[in-house]
Structure formats: C-alpha cells, structure tokens
C-alpha cells in the first residue's frame, strides 16, 4: 500500500504536450481511474508513473519517495497492458514467475507465490500452456496474476478490459473490483470507457489535452461536472447544452421529462418539438428541437419505460427540468458558473 503522487509533471513529445503540468494524488488503497478521450495523455501519465517515460518536468512520488530518476524495475509497481504483453515464448507459470526470477527469488518461494497467484485468478489448469493457447479472458487473468505475484505497492492497469468481448467485460470488471478490494493495493486504471470508470473507480480523474479537468467520486463527476467538456464526455447520451445569452444551460437527458411526469413547483418548462423516437428496450430516447430560440437547439430526452407518456415524432410537447438539475456554464471558458459544481478542493 502506498500513495502515488504526480507533482506538476509534464511530458512533451517535440511540440506536443502529451502531459501538461499535472498534479495528482492517489491515496493509499484507492482505485483511481484516469478517464479521457484518446490522445488526452492518460496513458502517457501512467507510463510516467511506471517509469517507462522520462518526464520533461516534474516528479513522480511513490510512497513518499521521489522515484523520478529510478528505472521501472526499482519502483516496485506492476502494470497490466492493454495487449497483456504476455511473453509468448514462456509458459503461463514462467510468465507469472518472471518478475520473481528477475529479482532472484528462491525457487521454493517462487513456486508458492505462483501457486497463490494462479489460484487467486483460477488459472491453475493453464500453468503449463503457452499464452497463444489461451482465450482472451484467460490471458487477461494471467496478466493480472503476473502483476499480483510480487505484491507491488501500486497496480497500473492500462485499459485491461478493452480486448475482451462485451459480455466477458462485465464479469471481468466485477472480478477486478473484488480483487482490488481484497488486496487493497493502490490502483491506477486508465480507460476511455466511462461506464468502466464509473463502475470501478473510487475516484475518477477526467483528463483532456494533457490536463486533469476534474477529479472526484463518480457521483461528483456525473452530478457536478466542472465544465462543458466533463459534462458532455460523461453520460450517455451526453448532457444537453443549450445556448442562453452568455452561458450554456445544461441538463441531463434523464432530467428532461414531459410536464405530466416531471412537473413540480421548481421546474423550468421548455417547449419541445419531437423529431424522432428511439425505442431501446429499457428506455426511450426522444430527439427533438427546443422551440422559440434563436439558435437551433437539438436536445435529447431519455425516458425510462415506467414513464408511459405518449411521445410521437412531429408533435410538440411541453417538457420540464427541475431547477436543481440545471447547470450553467460560461460560454467562453466552459466553466460551471452557478457554484454548484464548485471545486470542492478536487483539483
């Protein structure tokens, strides 16, 4: 268990600022997710923590010790790669024991450790196989076992679920969370998948263009987005943004409801012309345009199936949003302005 800290760290590749002065602290035993679109710098940040990249400026601190000048092997971190990076020429057992053999551990101790790690991930049967004889899910477990086996102070996971098919991904996500709870090892997890981030993270750091935009619990990130980027990046479909004077008005699709179900004394009404209705099983997505506005305002409403109000394409309805579900963002800076999505000391 350890804390991991990035102190004003930067990494520039030629002119590109992949990581641009990030300060970040992962607490002891925390599951911290780095979330952002591709190219936002999340993987580079993780590689900086691992020691696979040298920072242009700033420091990495693990467990209170500055490790910026240490090679990866001296940092006592373990990493699971998107490709799993299993050594193709070694058996599963040799893959798992690789980090132990590299530090010259005793044979008996190695055997015990490998057995322990293999049992933990239910891969005892595969120990004599080569990676290419395993399925995607089995490979992922081997990669996790290899990471766990030497009991590192930090786990670094780089999109470890993205090569699994959708069905497997859900169960693997669940297991991953369980293991992290049991081991209570500080974990930093990179993903571009918001559902993964929300489901796994104790806290989420949203990155864009080499900077941390917001860091907080999943509830904070979803409920109090700091700016329009976070508001539209998180949530599916994303938050509706409508121009209004010098600001944007934002509201979640599920907060945008027909008057007869959503009305209360503190709600705001929007005249809504429906253009299309998508039936998705558990809910309906209603696409349309807000009327009486200078700029065309396309918005989406997400209606769960227990709302049976009739909504037909081509018709005009009155929709409402409760006042406390409304966010306002500055049009120029994109920042949240009415104080509710306040910093909370998150940055």
């Amino acid at each position: 268990m350890a804390t991991v800290e990035a102190r004003h760290i930067s990494k520039h590749f030629d002119e590109v600022r992949a990581v641009d002065g990030i300060d970040l602290l992962a607490r002891e035993g925390e599951f911290l997710v780095l979330l952002g679109p591709s190219g936002c710098g999340k993987t580079t940040l993780m590689r900086l923590i691992a020691g696979l990249e040298q920072p242009t400026a700033g420091d990495i601190v693990i467990d209170g010790r500055v490790v910026t000048d240490l090679p990866p092997r001296a940092r006592n971190v373990a990493m699971v790669f998107q490709s799993y990076a299993l050594y193709p020429h070694l058996t599963v057992a040799k893959n798992i024991s690789f980090p132990l053999r590299a530090v010259g551990m005793q044979r008996d101790a190695i055997r015990k450790k490998v057995e322990w790690a293999a049992r933990m991930f239910g891969i005892e049967r595969f120990l004599d196989r080569k990676p290419r004889q395993l399925s995607g899910g089995e490979r992922q477990r081997v990669a996790l076992a290899r990471a766990v086996v030497r009991e590192p102070v930090v786990f670094l996971l780089d999109e470890p679920l993205s090569n699994l098919d959708a069905k497997l991904r859900n169960s693997a996500r669940d297991e991953l969370k369980q293991f992290q709870r049991v081991l209570a090892t500080t974990t930093i997890y990179v993903t571009h998948d918001q559902a993964e981030a929300m489901g796994l993270g104790d806290r989420i750091a949203v990155l864009n263009q080499g900077k941390v935009i917001q860091i907080g619990t999943p509830q904070e990130i979803y409920g109090k987005p700091m700016d329009t980027f976070v508001a539209t990046f998180i949530g599916s479909p994303p938050m509706n943004l409508v121009e209004e004077g010098a600001s944007y008005v934002g509201f979640r699709p599920e907060a945008f409801l027909p008057r007869e179900v959503g009305s209360s004394e503190d709600s705001v009404a929007f005249p809504f012309r429906v253009t299309r209705v998508e039936y998705l099983g558990a809910d309906r997505l209603v696409y349309g345009v807000l009327e009486g506005r200078t700029a065309e305002a396309h918005v989406i409403s997400k209606l769960p199936n227990n709302i049976r109000a009739e909504v037909v394409a081509g018709e005009r309805y009155d929709f409402v949003v409760r006042k406390r579900e409304i966010h306002r963002f500055d049009r120029n800076s994109g920042r949240h302005i009415d104080g509710r999505g306040d910093d909370d000391g998150n940055r």
Binding site: R47, A50, G51, L52, P71, P72, R73, R75, V77, A78, M79, F81, Q82, S83, A85, Y87, P88, H89, F98, P99, A102, V103, R146
Partner: protein, 284 residues
C-alpha cells in the same frame, strides 16, 4: 447449352495456365535437369552427337563423381565454403543483431534514414570494390587466405541482415519490453532476455541468408584466392575444373548440382522473408 461456352473458356484458360507454367519450368529448371543427366552419363555417351542426348544411351555411371571426390579438391572446397560461411555468419550476427535492434527501437527522423543508408550499402557491388580490396588484402598479407573472405564477406551480409533483423524487431510489440522492464529487467536486459528468445526465427533467417550469400559469392573469391586448396565451391568449380580446353563435363555438372540443390532447397523455405526485406516497405 448456354453453359458450354463457359466450360470451353475455362478449359482454354486452364490449358493456357498450364502452358505458361510448363514453358517457364522448362526454361528455368532445365539447366539443373541437364546437370543431373550429365553427371551420370558416361563420357562416351556425352560425346556422341548422333544419339539422343536426352536419353541414357549407355548405363548411368558414377565415374564422374568418383573423379570429383578423388582427383580434385572438391571436398576441400566444400569444407572451405562451410568454414568461411560459419565464420561470416558469426561476425554478421555479432554486428547485425544489436544494430538491427537499435535501428528498430531508435526514434527520431534520422533513425529511418540511417536504416535505409545501411541497406543501400548492400547494393554497392563487388565490381566497384574489388580493385581497392585486392590491394588492401595484399597489404594485410591475406592474399590466398580464406581469412580474406571472412574479412570481406560481412561487407554485404551485415547491411542486408541488419535491415532484415530491423524488420523482425520492429514487429515485436514494445509492450513486451515495457512489461519486462517493470518486471525487473534493465532496458538491455529486456532485449537479451525477452526480445532475443522471441526473435529466434529472425536470427535463423539471417543465418540462412548470410550463409547462402557467402556460398554464392564469386567476384571476391576469384580476385583474392589463387591457389586451388583455398577455393570455395563457387570459385573452384568454374576456375579449376576448366583447364584450357579440357572440360570434365560430368564432374563439373555433378559439382554444380551437389552444391546448388541443398542451398536452393534451404533458401526456398526462407525466400518470402528475403523478398519482404527486399521490398523496402513498398508492400504492406
């Protein structure tokens, strides 16, 4: 009825296809078939113009092969070729493996340029270099010594194998090396303990090419070596077995065949890699 023209077209096309292949196989493989025939024909049969040369008009004989192995230094030439080949392969690997890896992993605009520059030196032909080399070899006192070939042959095997290995190493995912470094190895250790074992196929391919390039070389051999006991096969057969106007055709053809066919077969297994190296990224 309507299908008939299609069938005819198909038969005609298959026939044309077979015809093309037969023509080219005849043209390209005939000299080797002819070597085979000549090797086992008696001298009298070889020199009888009135009889069909495609047939054995007299029973096949081993006399030419006996002459080759007993009365010439052919065996010695085979040994020389093998010895030079092994030495050159070792030098080539020692130089090309690290260089190919460095080129594969170096970043920056001049890494690619450097790789191509090294490859282009493979194209500098012996016919431009053999004259200065003749003098260099004489100055070093290596004329007539197999060491002269061991010294010079890497000048074309190293560029080619460096290029070839660079391609192999580039195909290895970098994640593996990153994982190895996190798992406790140094940057160099990751190369030795993870990359090298995975690249055995590439190293083997380089060994085959370095060796075959050595067996095929003629120009430097004929320039540096003048005494029969130091010849390699590709130089010894055409220079020593041809004496003035006396040609030992049977023995010569046998010598050609014995040296060519094994090399050709081994090479054939790896020729796709060779081509991949040749195409310089013009094929994806």
């Amino acid at each position: 009825m309507t299908r008939r023209p299609f069938k005819l077209v198909r038969i005609a096309r298959a026939g044309g296809h077979a015809g093309i292949l037969v023509f080219f196989i005849t043209f390209l493989a005939f000299p080797f078939y002819w070597m085979l025939m000549t090797t086992f024909k008696t001298t009298i049969d070889l020199h009888d113009v009135s009889k069909n040369p495609f047939l054995f008009n007299e029973p096949p004989t081993l006399e030419h092969l006996a002459v080759l192995f007993q009365d010439t230094q052919y065996l010695q030439w085979l040994i020389n070729t093998g010895a030079v080949g092994i030495a050159v392969v070792l030098i080539t690997l020692a130089l090309a493996v690290p260089a190919g890896y460095a080129l594969a992993r170096m970043t920056g605009p001049w890494a690619q340029t450097l790789g191509i520059a090294i490859f282009l030196t493979y194209l500098v032909p012996p016919t431009i270099l053999f004259i200065p080399f003749a003098r260099i070899i004489a100055t070093l006192g290596l004329q007539d010594s197999l060491w002269s070939l061991v010294l010079v042959y890497p000048s074309f095997t190293v560029p080619f194998c460096t290029w070839l290995l660079m391609g192999f190493f580039k195909a290895i995912p970098r994640d593996l090396e990153d994982a190895a470094m996190i798992d406790g190895l140094s940057r160099f250790g990751a190369f030795v303990k993870v990359v090298m074992p995975i690249s055995l196929a590439g190293v083997l391919t380089s060994i085959i090419f370095a060796f075959t390039l050595v067996t095929q070389e003629f120009v430097y051999g004929v320039t540096f070596i003048t005494s029969a006991s130091s010849y390699t096969v590709s130089v010894g057969v055409p220079t020593f077995l041809v004496r003035g106007d006396v040609y030992f055709w049977g023995s010569m053809m046998g010598a050609c065949l014995i040296a060519s066919v094994p090399i050709a077969i081994i090479y054939n297994f790896f020729v796709d890699r060779f081509v991949a190296g040749f195409t310089v990224g013009a094929v994806k």
